[in-house]
Symmetry: C2
Subunit: 242 residues, 2 copies
Amino acid sequence: MTTQIETEVSLAVSTVIFALRPDPESGLMTLWIPLVKRIREPYGGQWALPGGPLIAGEDLAASANHTLERTTGLTPKYLEQLYAFGAVDRSPDRVVSIVYWALVPSDEAARAIDGKNIQWFPADKVPPLAFDHNTIVEYALWRLRNKMEYSRIANAFLGQMFTLADLREVHEAVLRKPIDPANFRRQILTSKAIEATGTCVIGTSHRPPRLYRYNAAVQFADVGPLTHTANPVRSTDDDLGQ
Amino acid sequence: MTTQIETEVSLAVSTVIFALRPDPESGLMTLWIPLVKRIREPYGGQWALPGGPLIAGEDLAASANHTLERTTGLTPKYLEQLYAFGAVDRSPDRVVSIVYWALVPSDEAARAIDGKNIQWFPADKVPPLAFDHNTIVEYALWRLRNKMEYSRIANAFLGQMFTLADLREVHEAVLRKPIDPANFRRQILTSKAIEATGTCVIGTSHRPPRLYRYNAAVQFADVGPLTHTANPVRSTDDDLGQ
DNA sequence: GCAAAAGTGTTTCAATTACACCCATGT
DNA sequence: ACATGGGTGTAATTGAAACACTTTTGC
């Protein structure tokens, strides 16, 4: 155990975790994120993004995964680096935060931890947060919505099998606009992003919808040379942005 | 001056700097980047990206600007954060590098510092670099090429006024493919990204081309809530992806 | 006049959009 | 039968691409 001159710059990893839940008022699906209540200064008592200091032996994405597991008990189906925030004045002490964003399936999110010091909020109506975390949430939201349009991340909110209506509901919830079912169907199918399983859902009060699965083989056009996710389910792409 | 327990994680900022120069063989414009020769272990004697440790009182982008000024004597017209690289095994000691990418105008790049310990290389033919810097350069190249197609960063390679042929040459050099002049003209002009100055270039052996200027007022569709550049010339957008 | 690049016009093709309409099931 | 969402068909619109053609200069 050695000591050294204080660098005064410390490194933290935080994560913006997205899940879909019905809005208590409208009943429509919307994005929710979990926040933790700070127990110490600065910003004691205020809500903040889950996160913590970077451990020496831990990769950045691994750190994000661990805070996710610790705070929500969930495993993300998608995890990607968002941005490194390092303005000198973003905290009384000098902290550079490397922020990730994650998507968790709706069914898993239902059994997430929800306690006194951790609470889920609609992503578009978060309270005033500690540090620059409001900016970070906004940016993560923008990135998610942007990426939803050219990428296949919608699958991360769903299980192994799903109907086209399920997939469309995810898009509509994230993008907050209705989507024509007929055109949506064609776009998705011609992109080869998903494939029919041959099975159907029975017991509906209408024509039984087919079940589809994610087509792991197909890649998108603008995939980057990096796979930013260090996770069970591959994410197929990055930015464009990135 | 206090001391504390060694965190074992240190923070560095590096920058991938792009400029356009003619290829010595083909004579065509191509992307070049400056690299510095490492004088100490690890990877002593090998080429690496310019950069340095993050100073406590300095913003991330400011740090990138300073290394840029120090190593090349140049001021970028565009600067954006690329990614934070933090794999445990990317260096013998634990270093997290926050990497930026920058664009400098061709005319400025001509009078850049070029010495024994700093040298420019064609971006597509860099030698084996220290650490994971080859991966980083590849990723920066991908991001630049990707962004060139939906954003207005091409202007960062040019001066205040330029002809459509100049602008097209930038696109062709970065994307490494010929572009139809007629269609390029229409696309750019209908996007309102540039506007005519009313002046022309004279002395050419053909019809005098009009001069255009960057239209600062116009924003692009998918601009992010963040301005990632902390720089003289505004960059108008972020990722898309990416 | 000729070469060479600037600039305009036109045709074709592919993708998106809007919307009409049929299908299969439960009640 | 009929309500409901699943699923197919099609015409209109938009934008990209390909390329012929005209314009303006220097030589």
